[in-house]
Each structure stands twice: as C-alpha cells, then as structure tokens.
C-alpha cells in the first residue's frame, strides 16, 4: 500500500506523517506541491504546517497548487484523502470538504493533548465505537471550524461529522473536530494523528485514523485483472 504525503514550502509535519505511515506497515511516497501527478499512490495525506507561509488565509494558496489538481482527481475517483491541521485548511479551501477554518476564538495558539469523542462508527475509525474518546494532540492557531447552521445540520444528518472535541479548544461550530465529504472518502481534522502513534510519547490513538486511511485505500484499490 503506497501513501502519498504532500509537501509544501512551509510544511512541517510531512516527515512525521511519512514516518507514521511506515510504522503502520505501508510505504510512504513523498510528493511535492509542484507535482502534476500522484505517482500512482493509493491514498494521500495532506500534512500539517504553514503552507506558503499561511499567507492570504491558511491553506488558500496551497489549494491552488499544481498537486491539488491531481489530489482532486484522486478524491473524485473515490480514493481516500486525509487532511491533518493545515491539510484540513487546504481541503476546505479547495472545497473538497465543507466549511472553513478561522482563527481560534481565543486568538491564542493551542498546543496540548485533547479528547475527541467518536460521533459514529466509520471506516475512518476502525475498532472504535460511538462515544469512545481518543486522545490526540492539537497545535494550531487557526482551527476554529465554521459552517452556517444549515450546512452544519446537513452534515450531522449525513453522518459527515466523525469526531467532536470533548472540550472545545478553538470555538469550532458544534465542537466539530473531524468531518468528511459526502462520499466519505475525504476526511480531515485539526488534531495530529501522526503525532500519536507511539506509547512513548503519550498516545497511540492516532493510529486509528491512519489505519482507517489504509483500510479505505485497500477497499478502493483497483482490482488486479489477469491478462
């Protein structure tokens, strides 16, 4: 299983994401923002950082980069994409996910472990049940997810909300921490699953989402046909 990890100028969590992919037994493939294709990967991670210096709006310029055309095609073909932190901002700016990320209501950078309540069972969250709480770190300034009331209730009805903060750290509407697109193959969150993959550093709960990404990649992989 090959998982693409996209790097932008200003990305900083791309190496941790690639390392986490390796820990889960898959092959990380480093992709560059100027790439026109995804080198045939089965899944894509848009990692955290400060793409293009977060100029204009976080994720806004990265959403216009050449590699995003290829990511869009990949997503439209039903293959999985996981956005983490800045990756969430990139995917909302690219309109591959609903809503927008705004500065934290406190205007303070938040950096700590946080509890995430599982909203519903999903292929993105293998082995956990609704109501379970995952502990995964956050570190962001612009993590206040916004959607208008109508969009928000639609997302809840459609089951597109996967995780909510147990204790809202940034002012997100409905304490939403993780959403998917309608088809369910694109998901993103502000917390950092790639920083929670080893007991030594506090939590292995991040493995759940990364395992979910690999499971979805397995399900959407093209069937090999014999000649």
């Amino acid at each position: 299983m090959r998982v693409g990890v996209v790097s932008y100028p200003g990305a900083c969590d791309d190496r941790d994401a690639a390392r986490a992919v390796s820990l889960l037994g898959a092959e990380p493939v480093r992709l560059w923002h100027g790439d026109a294709d995804l080198a045939g990967v089965n899944a894509v991670i848009i990692p955290g950082g400060f793409s293009y210096g977060d100029h204009l709006r976080p994720g806004a310029l990265a959403a216009l980069s050449p590699v995003m055309s290829a990511v869009r095609e990949h997503a439209e073909a039903g293959r999985p994409v996981l956005g983490i932190c800045n990756g969430f901002q990139v995917l909302t700016e690219a309109r591959l996910l609903p809503g927008a990320l705004r500065p934290n209501a406190s205007l303070k950078f938040v950096c700590r472990d946080i509890g995430l309540t599982v909203e519903r069972e999903s292929p993105w969250l293998p082995g956990v049940a609704a109501g379970d709480v995952l502990t995964i770190p956050i570190k962001h300034h612009d993590g206040c997810w916004f959607a208008d009331e109508e969009t928000f209730s639609e997302l809840v009805t459609n089951g597109q909300v996967l995780l909510r903060y147990a204790d809202n750290p940034n002012g997100s509407v409905g304490s939403v921490a993780c959403v998917t697109n309608v088809a369910g193959n694109v998901a993103a969150l502000m917390p950092h699953p790639e920083h929670a993959v080893e007991r030594l550093i506090g939590s292995t709960d991040g493995r759940v989402l990364l395992r979910g990404l690999l499971d979805l990649a397995q399900m959407s992989a093209p069937r090999l046909t014999s000649v």
């Binding site: 709006r57 806004a60 216009l64 927008a100 934290n104 209501a105 205007l107 916004f146």
Partner: protein, 79 residues
C-alpha cells in the same frame, strides 16, 4: 488600471481580531463600539476599460482573495 479589493468578515461571523482591537480601544477610552478587521488588496490590472478591470478583479476576489463562506468583498476601481 488600479483596482482595490476590500475583504471583510461576513456579517454575523464572529471576528476575534476585531474584538481584540475593540477591547484595546475601550481600554484607551475611545468610543468605538464595534470593530471588524479585514484586508485590502491593491491590484494593477491589465485591462482595456474600467468595466473589464472590475470584472477581472471581482473574479480574482471571488476565487482567491476571499473565502465566500466567511468573507465578503468589494471592488473599487480608481477613477
């Protein structure tokens, strides 16, 4: 042709930056009851006339300079 694009938070959207400025102004004793913070972009647009400059700038504002979910924009062409 010089075009200015003003980008503001949409009405009803909370603007923590504006709120922080308002609190500081209140601390200084200024009677500013509400502050909303936005952005200003001066563009030099290569266009034949004012109407096409306005159209191009509006497209840029819609697609790039603002996020219509949370922001509104206004285009002004220098006379």
């Amino acid at each position: 042709m010089k075009v200015t694009v003003l980008v503001r938070p949409r009405d009803g959207i909370r603007d923590p930056q504006g709120e922080a400025v308002r609190r500081s102004l209140a601390g200084l004793g200024y009677p500013a009851a509400d502050v909303r913070a936005g952005k200003l972009f001066d563009l030099q647009v290569d266009a034949g006339d004012e109407e096409s400059a306005r159209r191009i700038a509006a497209e840029i504002a819609e697609k790039v300079l603002s996020n219509p979910l949370i922001e509104q924009y206004q285009v002004e062409v220098a006379g």
